[in-house]
Symmetry: C2
Subunit: 277 residues, 2 copies
């Protein structure tokens, strides 16, 4: 009798995003060790979880165009609940809010806009930075300080991390150019783009060169592609561009772009991080 | 008997932001003709109203660092309610949500982060564009198409609107540099910075040169100054920089900066707009 095919283990990202929908519409999930950051899950994964609760709600129409995730407190290891609320649904646009709870504590919130995109005049004023193809750039060894980074391959074209106990003097350029891809290949989708838009190291650390206690307070991602464009890309690296404009008095901004290898701008976004010292 | 001093009329911005707080913590307001846009109030005013409800809540601590306003439906002329909800308050950071309602319809929502900022290392990697001082730039005549623009003086250094019935061919650069100030002088504060971060014309109209039916879906503002810095500025123009990265399939992004005349970056932000045709 032939061996049965061995069951295929789910991709680590899909594993971490597994949700069960209760009869009342609340989704139940579990934190995932493979995506742990310093004191909680990787923020990009949390953003993807918040988005997934909306995308999996049977009332959802269209595809996501905007996501703002707010990180309100540290998420502990274990179970959590996600409750999507349809605030208002127009003819072509839906506005959602969603909260992540552990017990009575709301530890993350998001607003999500979904839309049925039309065929309109278009223009992409931004141009992709000239960089070598991902395959020509050496993967960067992040040294395994935190678990979540092991899920991605980082190939820095410029602005690789150079962290030590001695601050850069003068501070360095805070801009990074980095090819990002899933360590275990997986076709791009809304969820992975949401997560990848947080797969950068804080600009204040790039500029200053020393470890800093910090955390993302809020992040916003605008999705510029549609389902067909994403499906056509399939599994490929994305070029991440990250920079910041002002750091001071405990807060720093960061703005990012994610580019497909063909020069299509998939995502623009930003975030605000709290930092200490 | 001497004449009594005549009562001073409130500034049009303060007049439009007047709110009454009910015993249950809900704020009541009224739309304002002087701030009308095409089918509802100027979005920047709505953002300021949502922010004000949080700032005026007695539980608020610290100053605003981030605001995301979502425009979920057209606000009709008349009364509205604003309900701030303190989602979670940490030692130094508070997360709020707030909704604007008319009857049962939620027509705008916001998430607001307030924080007690500390004294930290700082850096401003962004540099202010080199422009002539505001006083050396002619005010632009917007022609009075909509009411809200009459509350501001626009002095375009680059990228002034040039709208007609014939599209630009090829499309123009979508970037604008514009000195913005209250037509009736008023010291800068959080509320005016929130409103000013929406005081731009949509990038797709700048690029294409023709009127387009459109509306902001969501906007995010990060505040980089603190109370002392704002108080020191007082009444002054701000330099607005606006550009966009990708326009297509019914949506366009826009990113903005607001600069103080002394080269201090006060605000960075972005928004996503729906457009037709």
């Amino acid at each position: 009798m032939p061996d049965l095919p061995s069951p295929v283990a789910p991709h680590p990202f899909d594993d971490a995003l597994a949700l069960d929908r209760r009869a009342d519409g609340v989704f139940l999930g579990q934190t995932s060790e493979a995506w742990w950051n310093f004191i909680g899950p990787f923020g990009g994964l949390v953003a993807a979880l918040l988005l997934r609760a909306v995308l999996d709600d049977p009332r959802r129409r269209g595809t996501p165009v905007a996501l703002t995730a707010n990180f309100t407190g540290a998420i502990a290891r274990g179970a959590f609940e996600l409750e999507p609320v349809l605030v208002r649904g127009g003819r072509t646009t839906q506005h959602w809010t969603v909260g992540l709870r552990q017990g009575d504590a709301v530890l993350a919130t998001a607003t999500v806009v979904c839309a049925q995109r039309g065929h309109t005049w278009g223009l992409q004023p931004a141009t992709m930075p000239e960089v070598p193809p991902a395959a020509d750039v050496e993967p960067f060894d992040l040294g395994g300080g935190v678990r979540w980074t092991g899920n991605y391959r980082f190939r820095f074209v410029a602005g690789a991390p150079a962290f030590s106990l001695t601050p850069h003097d003068p501070p360095r350029n805070a801009r990074s150019l980095v090819w990002l891809e899933d360590m275990q290949p997986r076709p791009l989708d809304w969820l992975s783009l949401a997560a990848l838009s947080d797969a950068f190291f804080p600009r204040v650390m790039h500029a200053r060169g020393i470890p800093v206690r910090l955390g993302t307070v809020t992040m916003t991602t605008y999705f510029h592609a549609d389902d067909d464009a994403l499906a056509a890309l399939g599994t490929c690296p994305v070029l991440g561009v990250a920079d910041g404009d002002r750091f001071g008095s405990s807060f720093q901004d960061q703005r990012i772009q994610l580019w497909a290898p063909d020069g299509q701008l998939l995502v623009t976004g930003g975030q605000l991080l709290w930092y200490e010292a």
